[in-house]
């Protein structure tokens, strides 16, 4: 510097500042663009995949619940309403499962995930084969009566529910775990980008501001002018951009994590709990159609305790008070139904299972389901709103730095133009 004359120093300062501004422009634009891609990955890929996997687990659990109900009452005219409802729900779940599997296969990112989906497709075909054989045997009965199953129907259903519990649900769980791990990774990567981004922007932005301030001081000393308006404007714009960009990255990250923590994670938990509760409710039917096998009593108790007290069934701390109260209502129905069955009053037990009066199982389970579904839907909608809100913060940020710092790069030569003219 000591050997340079004033025009050369002016050019050197100008060139250094423009290079620093260009570096900040490139870094900010690329970081913002990369963050947008990561957010897109979370919102358009990872979160929907996790939701699809969770939905698949639920739909499989309910599919078997409907089959259990159908096997129990198949062909019995007095339960035609329940049959229509069960068959209708079976068709809906069947389509839901097919759609989920198709979506899971088309969005799978690893060979391991694709293998899980293919296994599920094969197992589902086997499940449907056993389930429909059970129903076909019952429909062939001259006068089918609820709860009075031909042994073959019981045998075929046992095969079906074994496929569900030993193959389908574990496969769906693996898919769900993989998708949730991917979602967690996507959040971790976004968090890392946010930290690196803020550090880089502050570093490069601080350097640019420092260069602008030092240039201002050098100009003041050399040309005896207190302030260069163009450089001052450039300094303020740069400082503002650095603060704004850092804040956007930090706030956007906080909102994304809050959306996951407060909305999406609870939604996934409730979705899982709902699947467990449907499976537990199906244990009531399974107990009756199996001729009072104690394992279904124990299965129900284990699942119910988990729903009430928390654990591996999804809700780590148990259902909230309102939903739990309604679940306990169903549990009381379940216990009464099992008592009736144990007393040999199977027909009365089936009436209590399919009845829609308050205090009867079909109504009380629906009453519970309305509550837990409402909560789950609320969390899902809150996540969608929060996510869109967080994402909106990034709108325009891949070009905004170019525009703002482009102005800085123009202001600096404009600010020294007259000084340079003095040496021409």
């Amino acid at each position: 510097m000591g050997v340079l004359n004033t025009p050369s120093r002016l050019r050197w300062w100008t060139f250094s500042i423009v290079v620093a501004a260009a570096a900040l422009t490139a870094a900010t634009s690329l970081l913002m663009s990369h963050t947008q891609d990561q957010v897109r990955t979370i919102g358009a890929e990872a979160a929907p995949q996790a939701a699809t996997a969770s939905d698949l687990y639920f739909a499989l659990a309910d599919l078997d619940a409907q089959v259990a109900r159908l096997v129990l009452i198949a062909g019995a005219e007095e339960h035609s309403g329940s049959q229509i409802d069960a068959l209708s729900t079976y068709r809906e779940r069947s389509r839901q499962i097919d759609a989920d599997l198709e979506r899971a296969l088309s969005t799978a990112t690893t060979d391991a995930d694709r293998a899980i989906v293919r296994d599920l497709l094969g197992d589902l075909a086997v499940y449907r084969q056993w389930a429909w054989q059970a129903l076909a045997v019952e429909w062939e009965q001259p006068e089918p009566r609820a709860g009075q199953l031909p042994p073959a129907a019981r045998g075929y259903y046992a095969q079906a529910t074994n496929v569900l519990h030993f193959d389908l649900l574990p496969g769906a769980k693996r898919l769900r775990d993989a998708s949730q791990a991917r979602l967690d990774r996507a959040y971790d990567e976004q968090r890392a980008t946010e930290r690196v981004g803020i550090a880089l922007i502050v570093l490069l932005g601080g350097l640019l501001v420092a260069l602008l301030v030092l240039f201002q001081r050098w100009l003041s000393g050399r040309f005896r002018r207190r302030l260069n308006p163009a450089l001052l404007t450039a300094t303020l714009i740069t400082a503002g951009l650095v603060i704004w960009a850092s804040a956007v990255l930090a706030v956007e990250g906080q909102r994304l994590r809050a959306a996951h923590r407060d909305s999406f994670a609870p939604y996934l938990e409730l979705s899982h709990a709902q699947a467990v509760s449907y499976d537990a409710a199906a244990d009531t039917s399974r107990y009756l159609l199996s001729g009072n096998l104690p394992q279904y009593r124990e299965d129900f108790t284990r699942k119910s305790e988990c729903l009430v007290g928390g654990g591996a069934c999804g809700v780590t701390t148990g259902l909230d008070a309102r939903v739990r109260e309604r679940w306990l209502g169903y549990r009381r129905d379940h216990e009464r139904i099992l008592t009736l069955a144990d007393d040999g009053r199977t027909a009365a037990a089936i009436d209590a299972l399919t009845g829609i009066r308050r205090g009867e199982a079909a109504f009380d389970f629906y009453y519970y389901d309305v509550a837990i579904s409402g909560d789950a839907t609320g969390h899902k909608q809150a996540f969608e709103a929060s996510f869109a809100d967080a994402e909106g913060l990034l709108a325009g940020w891949s070009v905004l730095p170019v525009a703002v710092l482009g102005a800085v790069m123009l202001l600096v030569p404009a600010g020294v133009w007259r000084r340079m003219a003095e040496y021409r």
Partner: protein, 364 residues
């Protein structure tokens, strides 16, 4: 600035895509049908009895209403239309479900039960009736009323019968024997089916109409489920049954010719179009309908069953009035009608639904 605007637009589009992706991915268990918005809650107990044809719909409504209104307790006994009306006239229950309007001879008794205020009919449930068939190699079967009559009276014995072939030009029909399936029990479905044929099949149908019909041949089965099961497992079978049973059993259903000469496939819109041409024959709030099975309305599927709730226009017991009005306001609402569509019931046409809802508000 243009670039910034474009980015903003892209961002909005992305946000929309994210929301759509989540919403459309079947994200989470299907929530039970939302019910709370259109329900006006009331406390108390309410009982009704009658038509089994509408029992599935009424039970769904009761479940939804009670889930939204913890202080309400509603019961409906599926005892058949005749028994339901008799019980209502004798003072039991707060409403009766029926597949057919009160006979003129019973109207005075029903009015008296209401303390002089007339007993009125509120059409509430529309159930399309279909002809489900099981014929190898045949899909999209078209049948005119006269051909349906030929089939069910035994005049047509094989599927390649000339009348069936005339309805299905260009279709190769097999010489399989026709096996008809009808109801062994009394039912509104049979009443609508025979009324339809009596009105539209001309000389091909001489059996009149009624809720029981003893066919000379074919299989007699109890309930819609029994008919569906027989059709499902019998090659060459055809039976009449409620649409919902054909849907859930994945049975092919015939396309039926209406009074306009148009062959129409069953559907909510098509059934609603047919009911929309019905004439309201009651006076004041009495909305009994005269369904025109010969309707020439384009797109109308003419084989429908309309069932009613019979209630007191004035004279419902004080303890049940608010609940009766709240419950029927829900059943006659758009949400209530939608709630039972998945069971194979067609929503009431808006013109009639609005009149029913208006009448419910005036009950006293």
């Amino acid at each position: 600035m243009r670039g910034g605007k474009a980015m903003a637009n892209r961002s909005v589009a992305l946000a929309a895509a994210v929301v759509a992706a989540l919403a459309g991915c079947g994200a989470g268990p299907a929530a039970p049908a939302p019910v709370a918005d259109s329900i006006r809650c009331a406390a108390g107990t309410l009982t009704g009895q009658g038509s089994s044809a509408q029992a599935n719909a009424v039970n769904i409504w009761i479940r939804n209403y009670q889930a939204a209104c913890p202080e309400a307790a509603i019961e409906y006994a599926s005892v058949g239309s005749g028994a339901g009306l008799r019980a209502f006239i004798s003072g039991a229950g707060d409403f009766a479900g029926t597949d057919a309007a009160l006979p003129a001879a019973d109207q005075p008794g029903a009015d008296a039960r209401c303390g002089g205020g007339p007993a009125i009919h509120l059409p509430m449930v529309v159930g399309p009736i279909v002809l489900a068939y099981n014929v190898a190699g045949v899909s999209g079967l078209r049948l005119s009323p006269a051909t349906i009559a030929r089939i069910f009276t035994g005049a047509a014995s094989t599927w390649d019968d000339a009348a069936i072939a005339a309805d299905n030009p260009g279709v190769v029909l097999p010489p399989t024997r026709i096996s008809t399936v009808h109801r062994s029990d009394s039912s509104g479905t049979t009443n609508s089916f025979t009324s339809f044929l009596a009105a539209t099949a001309g000389g091909a149908w001489t059996s009149g109409s009624g809720s029981t019909w003893r066919a000379k041949g074919g299989q007699a089965r109890q309930g819609n489920g029994g008919v569906a099961a027989a059709v499902r497992r019998t090659e060459g079978a055809i039976g009449y049954l409620e649409w919902s049973y054909a849907q859930v059993n994945n049975l092919n259903t015939a396309v039926v010719r209406n009074g306009d000469g148009e062959f129409v496939e069953v559907g909510n819109q098509a059934a609603g179009t047919a009911v929309g041409t019905a004439t309201v024959t009651g006076a004041g709030g009495d909305l009994r309908l005269d369904v025109d099975y010969t309707t020439a309305e384009p797109g109308a599927y003419p084989l429908v069953l309309v069932t009613y709730e019979v209630v007191c226009a004035r004279g419902t017991r004080a303890g049940a009035l608010d609940l009766l009005k709240g419950f029927l306001a829900y059943t006659s609402s758009e949400a209530g009608q939608r709630a039972v569509a998945r069971l194979g019931y067609a929503p009431l046409p808006e013109r009639i639904r609005a009149r029913v809802a208006g009448t419910v508000d005036t009950l006293g």
